[in-house]
Amino acid sequence: MQAQVQYKRPIPLSTNYAVAHAAKDLDVDVIAAYPITPQTTVVEKLSEFVANGELDAEFIHVESEHSALSATLAASLAGARAFTATASQGLAFMHEMLHVASGLRAPIVMSVAMRALSAPISIWNDQTDLFNARDAGWIIYFVHTAQEAYDTIIQAYRLAEDRDVLLPVMVGYDGYVMSHTTEPVVVEDRESVLKFAPKRPYPYRLDPDHPVTIGPIVPPEYYYEIKYQQVKAMEGVPEKAEEIDREFGKTFGRSYGIMECYMCDGAEALIVANASYAATMKSVLPDAWKQGLKVGLLRLRLYRPFPVKHFVNYTSNVKSVLVIDRAISYGAPYQGPLANEIAGLKVREDLGFNLTSVVAGIGQRAMENEDFLAIARLAWEARTRKYPETIFYGVRE
């Protein structure tokens, strides 16, 4: 009989704390962050770790998120393993630096506790912040449990610091719904985490013996090629991310793939969802099947670059795909940004399903299990019926 591998016992952590623990176990050298709801407890916990001597890192108290990412970027370019966390207005305020970080190919990892954007002011959850930042050249993950957040931060550094990648990574999870909800999380020891993701600093790091100029002006004759390098670096990411995830599974006993298809066997309709909505949908789907709705869940985990091959593989035989968006792309053909993207993919790959775009949960509008069932029914009915316009689920007349 084969010996059973003994895995560690879980401890209760919120997703924010799980992220902070991951950064600690990765032995990050520099943290520059500004507290913003609902991300605050990530950096609170990290400052506690630094103050208690559990983590030997520089904690830079900056006056804004623009500075937070600037300092993180500078630290990363100087050869440090740098971490930051943000949400909502903070992510928006970082926008300029998001492009600088990806343009300079800094292997930064940042967690995003996704939250609605002003105006009007809402501190509650939706994904407008992250969807507004999706074209900034960062690798983007969505995670649906605290454990996955912990594990993904570890995988993210391995990916970001890979010499063929060298791109910053965002790990997104739902504000409050996940950031402030306690779940059982297995926390690994630093030694094995560092063995899995050893520090590989930026190759052109600032070094007086090998002077380089970082961030010069680049004329039209050269700029395009440098941007194309970013395109090519992204291309190899899905394969690499999958490989890292597999290895993670072998080491720690947990793996996720880069796109998950849940209850897909025999499903005629699929719902595309991410983060907490994917988790809730998972709990609702068995009831849906009992009601005769053969609906599966396609959970987005790696979102940038989009795992096209996986998506095509999962959706080539279904009649209906319903996309739940938690952000609005105002005035777009489909007003859910993700649905819009999948519409493009449907044309590109000549996929035969009926596409339905549903916007829901804006500003953390409550979504109960019945609402998820109703959306599953909508996905089921869309096999034989087209919804050309975006459905704004739950909005009052």
Partner: protein
């Protein structure tokens, strides 16, 4: 003759300059329309053009010059056309109008 520029595989990531001091290879004066020409006879060596040039493109040379009126100067002024952008500041400020701005001939 056109220069072959590097392709995306040949360039350092992020536009990072990995060979320090390579700005010396980069001539910034290739886009002027008018170029200053100094008349060494009219020039009174006041040095104003040297002072006002925003690009340090006026060179003070240890090169003696004797004018037609037999006046002897120990130095001369010349223009470094690799860096002169043809702004005309020198010609504008020259008190004796010794600098002409003439069209650049493109071959």
């Amino acid at each position: 003759m056109s220069v072959r520029l590097p392709g995306w595989k040949e360039m350092a990531i992020g536009g990072i300059i990995v060979n320090p001091g390579n700005s010396l290879e980069y001539k910034t004066g290739d886009w002027k329309v008018l170029m200053p020409v100094i008349d060494q006879d009219k020039c009174i060596r006041c040095r104003i053009c040297w002072y006002v040039c925003p690009d340090n493109a006026i060179k003070e040379l240890d090169k003696p010059h004797t004018t037609k009126a037999k006046r002897v100067y120990k130095i001369s002024y010349d223009v470094d056309y690799d860096y002169c952008k043809g702004c005309g500041m020198c010609a504008q400020e020259c008190p004796v109008k010794a600098i002409d701005m003439v069209p650049v001939e493109v071959s």
